[in-house]
C-alpha cells in the first residue's frame, strides 16, 4: 500500500508532516485518557469536585488538540490531493489530444470522460484517505500499546495478540470473498445489466409484442439479482464483522481481566480506567482503514487506469520543421513513401507500403471496400495517426509526420458525422477561425446552403445548436462542416465518407454544394459512394491496405482492375 504515492510531487513533505501530526495526535490521545482516568478515579475516591476543575480543563485541552491535529491532517491531505489531481488532469488532457480521435473511439467517449472526471475525483479521495490512514496505522497503535505496556503488560499482551489474529481473519475473509465474487462475476454482470438492457431494447420488445409481459421478467430478474447480491454481501460484510468482533471481544477481555486484577488488588482503578479508555483507540486506526477500504480501492484502480493512459504513446505537436509561413500552394508537393500502419503488433497491417506523391491543387478520391484502408489513410494524412514505418516530405523537407503544426494549419477535416459543438450556429461555423466577423460567418453559411435553416431559427445564426440546443439533421450537420471549411479557407480538405448515411436527395444536394468548394484546393475524399469518382482528378484505389491502383476514372476503367470490379459489382444490383 502506498508505494505509488511516494512518486508523486510533494509527497515526501506531506508524509513527513502527517507523520509528525499523527505523533502529536497519539500523544494527545494518551494525555486525554490519562487525565480523564485521573478525574474519574479521584471522584470515585470521593475527592471534592472543585479540585478536579484543572484536570477537567486539561482533558478538554487534550481532547481538542486531538481534533485539531486531525483537522490539520485532513486539510493537508486535501490540499495534496487537490494539487496532485490538478496535475494529473492537465497531463490527461494533454495526452488525450496527443492520442487523438482514433484512441477516443477505441476507448469510448463515455469511458474517457468518466475516467477524467470521476476518475480524478476517486483518485483524490484515495489520496485524501490513504495518507492519514497510513500514518495512523503505522504510528498510533504502536505508541498506545507501548504506553499501555508500561502501565499494564497483561492488557497490552491481550491487545498485541488480537491485532494479528484480526488481520489474518480479514485477509482470509477478503480472499474468500474475492474468490466467490469472481466466480459469480459473469452472472452478476448480466443480472445488473439486465434492467438497462431492457430499457434500451424497449422499442424492439414492443415490435416483438413482448414489451408488456417483459415487466414480469424484470421483476424476476431483479429478485434474482437481489439474492445474488445478498449472497455476496453476506461474505463481504464478514470482513467488517471480523473487525468488529475481534475489537469488541478484545476490549471486553481487557475489561474483564482488569476487573479480576482489581479484585485481587494487583492494580489501582486509575490505571484500569486508563487502559479501558485507550483500548478502543488502539484499534481505531485499523478500523478506519477497513471502513475506507472500498473507497481507497476504487481510487487506486482509477489512478492506475489514468497512469496507463498517460503512459500511452501519443503524438507530440512540437515546433514545425517547415519554413516559417508554410502554405500549401499550387506548386507544393507532398510525398509519402513506404507508409505502413499496423494497429496491433501481431495483427494485419491497415496500410501496407503506401507511397504516393501529390502536387498542387487536386481533387483526389480514395475508394475501396470497407476495411481496405481508406479511413486509415485519411487519418495519416490528417496527422491523427503516426504510421509505424514511412517517411513524409513536404516541399522537399522531410517531416516526422503529418501532425506537424504547419501542415495541420493548412487542413480542414470533415468526418462522416461532423461534431456539432454545444454553441451557437455562428460559433460552430467560426470554429476554425474564432476571430471571423459576423459578415464572414453569414457568407460561409450562405455558401454552405444553410440560409434556410437560419431563417427558421428564432435567434438566427446565434441560436444554440448541438446537444444542449436544437438538433440538426445529418444533412444540416454536413452543411455546418462545409461552412466551417469555407470560412477557414484552408488549402487542404480531408473528407471521410461524408454522404453515405444521407438519403439520396440530401446526398445530391450536399454534393452540389461541395463541388464548387473544392475548386483550387487539395481535396482528399474517402468514400465508397462511386458517383463521386467522376468528379475527381485522381483516384486512389485501396485494396487490403495496399494502394492497388491510381489514376483517373477513365484510366482505371480501361485497366479493368480493382476499380473496374467495384464498378461492375455496383452495376449488378440485386437479383
Amino acid at each position: 500500500m502506498g508505494k505509488d504515492i511516494m512518486g508523486l510531487k510533494g509527497a515526501k513533505s506531506v508524509l513527513a508532516l502527517t507523520a509528525f501530526l499523527t505523533l502529536v495526535q497519539s500523544v494527545s490521545i494518551i494525555l486525554l485518557a490519562t487525565w480523564l482516568a485521573e478525574v474519574i478515579s479521584a471522584l470515585f475516591a470521593g475527592q471534592p469536585l472543585q479540585e478536579q476543575y484543572g484536570k477537567m480543563a486539561m482533558f478538554l485541552f487534550a481532547f481538542i488538540l486531538r481534533q485539531i491535529t486531525g483537522l490539520a491532517m485532513q486539510k493537508l491531505a486535501y490540499r495534496f490531493a487537490e494539487t496532485t489531481g490538478r496535475d494529473l488532469q492537465q497531463q490527461l488532457l494533454q495526452k488525450l489530444f496527443e492520442l487523438g480521435p482514433r484512441f477516443a473511439k477505441k476507448e469510448g467517449t463515455g469511458n474517457l470522460v468518466t475516467l477524467v472526471l470521476d476518475g480524478i475525483t476517486q483518485f483524490r479521495t484515495y489520496l485524501e484517505l490513504i495518507v492519514p490512514r497510513m500514518m495512523g496505522v503505522a504510528i498510533t497503535p504502536a505508541l498506545i500499546v507501548l504506553f499501555i505496556f508500561v502501565k499494564d503488560p497483561t492488557a497490552a499482551l491481550i491487545l498485541i495478540v488480537t491485532l494479528p489474529i484480526l488481520i489474518a481473519f480479514m485477509i482470509l475473509i477478503g480472499l474468500a470473498t474475492k474468490k466467490h465474487t469472481e466466480k459469480q462475476l459473469e452472472t452478476y454482470r448480466k443480472l445488473s445489466n439486465h434492467f438497462v438492457d431492457s430499457l434500451r431494447g424497449l422499442e424492439t420488445l414492443k415490435f416483438l409484442g413482448r414489451s408488456r409481459s417483459h415487466g414480469d421478467t424484470i421483476e424476476q430478474v431483479s429478485d434474482r439479482y437481489r439474492s445474488a447480491t445478498m449472497k455476496t454481501l453476506r461474505m463481504a460484510f464478514l470482513s467488517s464483522f471480523a473487525l468488529d468482533f475481534f475489537t469488541m471481544l478484545s476490549v471486553a477481555s481487557v475489561a474483564v481481566s482488569l476487573g479480576l486484577r482489581l479484585i485481587n488488588g494487583e492494580m489501582g482503578l486509575e490505571v484500569a480506567l486508563l487502559v479501558l479508555i485507550l483500548a478502543p483507540e488502539y484499534f481505531l486506526p485499523v478500523r478506519m482503514v477497513g471502513a475506507d477500504y472500498h473507497a481507497t480501492l476504487k481510487g487506486k484502480e482509477a489512478g492506475k487506469a489514468m497512469q496507463a493512459m498517460i503512459a500511452e504513446e501519443g503524438l507530440k505537436v512540437g515546433e514545425s520543421v517547415l519554413p516559417v509561413g508554410f502554405t500549401w500552394t499550387k506548386d507544393s508537393v507532398l510525398s509519402l513513401s513506404h507508409v505502413n500502419v499496423q494497429h496491433e503488433a501481431e495483427g494485419p497491417s491497415s496500410l501496407q507500403d503506401v507511397s504516393l506523391e501529390i502536387a498542387g491543387m487536386k481533387r483526389i478520391g480514395i475508394i475501396g471496400e470497407s476495411g481496405a484502408g481508406k479511413s486509415t489513410l485519411i487519418d495519416v494524412l490528417g496527422g491523427f495517426l503516426q504510421p509505424n514505418v514511412g517517411t513524409f516530405r513536404l516541399d522537399g523537407v522531410t517531416i516526422p509526420g503529418l501532425h506537424d503544426a504547419a501542415w495541420r494549419g493548412e487542413t480542414t477535416y470533415i468526418p462522416q458525422h461532423p461534431y456539432i459543438f454545444d454553441m451557437s450556429l455562428a460559433d460552430n461555423v467560426r470554429f476554425y477561425r474564432p476571430e471571423a466577423s459576423d459578415e464572414e460567418v453569414a457568407e460561409a453559411i450562405a455558401a454552405a446552403g444553410l440560409q434556410e435553416l437560419v431563417a427558421q431559427l428564432t435567434h438566427g445564426m446565434n441560436e444554440v445548436i448541438g446537444n444542449g440546443g436544437r438538433q440538426l439533421s445529418g444533412g444540416q450537420e454536413q452543411r455546418v462542416a462545409l461552412a466551417r471549411a469555407f470560412l477557414s479557407d484552408r488549402s487542404v480538405i480531408l473528407l471521410d465518407e461524408p454522404t453515405a448515411h444521407l438519403d439520396i436527395e440530401t446526398e445530391m444536394e450536399i454534393k452540389e454544394t461541395m463541388l464548387p468548394l473544392f475548386a483550387d484546393k487539395l481535396v482528399f475524399l474517402a468514400t465508397h459512394r462511386l458517383h463521386w469518382m467522376t468528379d475527381m482528378d485522381l483516384i486512389l484505389v485501396m485494396d487490403q491496405g495496399r494502394l492497388a491502383e491510381m489514376g483517373t476514372h477513365e484510366e482505371l476503367l480501361l485497366q479493368r482492375g480493382v476499380y473496374y470490379g467495384l464498378m461492375t459489382a455496383e452495376m449488378e444490383g440485386i437479383l
Binding site: 471522584l43 474517457l112 434492467f195 482489581l262 477535416y413 459543438f421 439520396i504
Partner: protein, 593 residues
C-alpha cells in the same frame, strides 16, 4: 401521485422491514454503549474489592455478551437493510419500466439527448442511498435522542435538559445549519460539474476539430478555468465539513466533562453509587457515534433531488397521442393475410410533441402527413423515400397503430390499426436501423421472435438469413453470448440476427425502416438480397435512403413535407420523372467505355 411518489410509498409498503432495520441499528448502538457502560461499572465495582468474585459475575458476563453481540447485531443489521433496499429497487425498476413501456416507440424522439434510459436506471440505483445513508441514520439518531433525554430525566431533570441541549445542537442545529450553508453550494457544484462533463464530452467527440484547428491548448486552458471554479466550491464545502466536525467534537468533549462533573456530583450527594461515575462517563463515547453522522446524512438531501425530479418528470402516458395504451386487441390468427389500407390519412402531432419534433419538421407545416393514400394487399412491396423529417416514421407509426390519424383511416383487414393494441405484433414486424440485441445468447436473441420456437426452427431461420455457417464457427455456437452491445458481430450480421427474429415472428406484414444505413455498398446489397428472398410472400413497407433494390418493388413512393411527391413503379418513374432518373443515376453510376 406525482410529488415524491418515488419515495414515500416504499416506506409504507416496507414498513415492518424498515422497523426491523431501525430496531437492529438501535440495538447496535445499545450494545456498543452497554459494553462501555458495564465495563466502567465492572472495574469500578472491582476496585471496591468485593469479598466474593461472584459479586461481579453478572457484569463480567454482560461485558462479554455485549462485546460479542454488538458485532453480530451490526452484521445482521447491514444485511437486513440492504435486503430491504434491494427489494425496493426491484419494485422501482418494474415501476419505471411499466411507465416507459406504453411510450416505447416515442422515447427516441421525445428524449433525443444522450442516454436518458441509462441515466434513469442509474437514478434508481442512486435512490438506495436515500434510505441507507439518510433515512436510517437520522431516524436512529432521533430515537436515541429521545431515549437518552428520557433516561437522564429519570435521574435528574435539570441535567437531562442540559444534555438535551447539547444533543439538540448535534441532531438539529448543526444539520440544519449545514443544509442551509451547503445547499446553494451543492447546487452550484452540480451545475458546474455537469458543465465540465458536457465540455469534456464535447471535446472528446469533437477532438479532430480541436486538434486540426490548433485550438487544443485553448480548450485545455478554458477547461482548467472552469475546473478551478469547481475546485473553489469543493474547497469551501470541505472546509465547512471540517469545521462542522470540529464543532461537533467540541460538543462531545463538553458532554464528557459535563457527564463526569454531574456523576461526581450525584455520587457525592449519594444519589447513586460511586461505581456509576466511570460507567456514565465512558458511555458518552460510543453513544455519540449515533449522533455524529446526522449532519452528513441531512446534507445529502439535495443530491437526491435531481434523481427524484427526473423520475417524477417521466410522463406515464402515451394517451395524449390518441391511443389507449391498455388496448389489448385481438390477435391475427397465424398465417392469415393482412390487407392494409390508408385513405385520406392526415396526421399532426399535439403541440407538446411538436416542440420535441421541431427538427423532424423543418417547414413547420401544419400537417406532418397530409392526404396519404396507400393500398397494400397481401404480398405487395412498397418502397418509401424521403428526406429526414418528411414524415416517413410517422407513417410507420400510423400503420403500427401507435398513432391515430386525425383525418381518414388506417385499416388492417377493415379494422382500424390502433384497435389491434399490443397484438399488432402478430400483424406487423419491424426491422429497423439499429435493432437492439439483448445481452443473452444468440439463440435467445433469435427466439425473441417466437418464444416457443424449437432449436430446429431457430437453425432454419438462421440458415435463411445466411448466418448458419458463421454461428457454427463460433466457439459455443448458438449459445454464444451476444456481449453487451453485440460487438462480436458486424453491422450486417447484427441485422441478419434481427431478421431471423422477424422471420420467426412470421407476420404477414414487415416494415423495413432503413435497415442498411451505415453499411458499405457490398454489405448493403447482400443484406437486401437476403431480406427480399427470405421475406417472399409478405407485404413489405420499406423505408430506404438509397435506391439500390427499388427495382424489386411494386411501388415507389416519394414523400416530401408530408405529402406524396412522386409515386409509381421504378420503370414508370424512370420514364416519367427526370428527377427520379437523376437520383437513380447517382446511386447506380453507369460505366461508359
Amino acid at each position: 401521485m406525482r410529488e415524491e411518489s418515488w419515495f414515500r410509498p416504499y416506506i409504507r409498503q416496507h414498513g415492518w422491514r424498515f422497523a426491523i432495520v431501525i430496531a437492529l441499528s438501535l440495538l447496535t448502538v445499545l450494545a456498543a454503549s452497554s459494553l462501555m457502560f458495564t465495563s466502567g461499572f465492572l472495574i469500578s465495582k472491582s476496585a471496591l474489592r468485593p469479598e466474593n468474585i461472584l459479586l461481579v459475575y453478572v457484569p463480567v458476563v454482560l461485558v462479554r455478551t455485549f462485546g460479542i453481540s454488538r458485532a453480530v447485531i451490526h452484521y445482521v443489521e447491514r444485511l437486513a437493510s440492504h435486503d430491504a433496499i434491494l427489494r425496493i429497487l426491484s419494485k422501482m425498476r418494474v415501476r419505471l419500466y411499466r411507465m416507459l413501456e406504453p411510450q416505447a416507440l416515442f422515447i427516441r424522439s421525445r428524449y433525443r439527448t444522450g442516454d436518458v434510459l441509462g441515466v434513469l436506471a442509474d437514478d434508481i440505483e442512486y435512490l438506495q442511498n436515500v434510505y441507507l445513508r439518510t433515512v436510517f441514520p437520522t431516524v436512529v439518531a432521533l430515537i436515541m435522542y429521545i431515549a437518552v433525554v428520557v433516561l437522564l430525566g429519570w435521574y435528574d431533570i435539570g441535567f437531562a435538559f442540559l444534555m438535551g441541549l447539547y444533543l439538540f445542537v448535534l441532531v438539529f442545529v448543526l444539520p440544519g445549519v449545514s443544509l442551509r450553508i451547503t445547499y446553494a453550494r451543492h447546487e452550484q457544484m452540480k451545475q458546474q460539474r455537469s458543465r465540465l462533463y458536457r465540455k469534456l464530452t464535447d471535446a472528446v467527440l469533437g477532438m479532430g476539430d480541436w486538434m486540426i484547428s490548433g485550438r487544443a491548448a485553448q480548450f485545455a486552458a478554458a477547461y482548467e478555468a472552469d475546473e478551478q471554479r469547481v475546485a473553489a466550491i469543493e474547497r469551501s464545502l470541505s472546509r465547512w465539513a471540517r469545521g462542522r466536525m470540529f464543532i461537533a467534537q467540541c460538543i462531545v468533549g463538553l458532554t464528557v466533562v459535563s457527564m463526569a462533573y454531574w456523576s461526581g456530583q450525584q455520587a457525592a450527594s449519594g444519589s447513586f453509587t460511586v461505581t456509576l461515575i466511570a460507567a456514565f462517563t465512558l458511555v458518552v463515547f460510543p453513544l455519540m457515534d449515533a449522533f455524529l453522522p446526522v449532519s452528513e446524512a441531512i446534507e445529502k438531501i439535495p443530491q437526491y433531488r435531481d434523481s427524484l425530479a427526473r423520475l417524477n418528470e417521466m410522463r406515464d402516458d402515451g394517451g395524449d397521442l390518441g391511443v389507449d395504451p391498455s388496448a389489448t386487441g385481438l390477435p391475427l390468427p397465424a398465417g392469415q393475410a393482412a390487407y392494409i389500407q390508408l385513405t385520406d390519412v392526415c396526421y399532426r402531432y399535439p403541440s407538446s410533441e411538436q416542440l420535441a419534433r421541431e427538427v423532424a419538421d423543418p417547414q413547420v407545416s401544419n400537417w406532418t402527413l397530409e392526404d396519404i393514400q396507400l393500398d397494400l394487399p397481401q404480398g405487395k412491396r412498397v418502397a418509401i423515400i424521403g428526406r429526414s423529417g418528411a414524415g416517413k416514421s410517422t407513417l410507420l407509426k400510423l400503420v403500427q397503430g401507435a398513432l391515430v390519424p386525425n383525418n381518414g383511416e388506417v385499416l388492417i383487414n377493415g379494422v382500424p390499426a390502433h384497435h389491434y393494441g399490443e397484438q399488432i405484433a402478430s400483424v406487423v414486424s419491424v426491422l429497423n436501423q439499429r435493432p437492439h440485441l439483448f445481452d443473452t445468447t444468440v439463440a435467445n436473441n433469435i427466439r425473441l421472435g417466437r418464444r416457443d420456437a424449437s432449436d430446429e426452427e431457430i437453425a432454419v431461420v438462421a440458415q435463411q438469413v445466411k448466418l448458419d455457417q458463421l454461428i457454427a464457427s463460433l466457439p459455443e455456437g448458438y449459445a454464444t453470448p451476444m456481449l453487451e452491445t453485440g460487438q462480436r458481430f458486424s453491422g450486417g450480421e447484427r441485422q441478419r440476427i434481427a431478421l431471423a427474429r422477424v422471420l420467426l415472428q412470421n407476420t404477414p406484414v414487415v416494415i423495413l425502416d432503413e435497415p442498411t444505413v451505415g453499411l458499405d455498398p457490398r454489405t448493403e446489397r447482400d443484406l437486401l438480397q437476403t431480406i427480399f428472398h427470405a421475406l417472399q410472400g409478405k407485404s413489405l413497407l420499406w423505408i430506404t435512403h438509397h435506391l439500390v433494390g427499388v427495382e424489386q418493388m411494386d411501388e415507389v413512393i416519394f414523400i416530401e413535407d408530408g405529402r406524396v411527391a412522386m409515386r409509381g413503379t421504378h420503370a414508370e418513374l424512370m420514364e416519367r420523372e427526370p428527377r427520379y432518373a437523376k437520383l437513380y443515376r447517382l446511386d447506380r453510376p453507369q460505366i461508359h467505355i
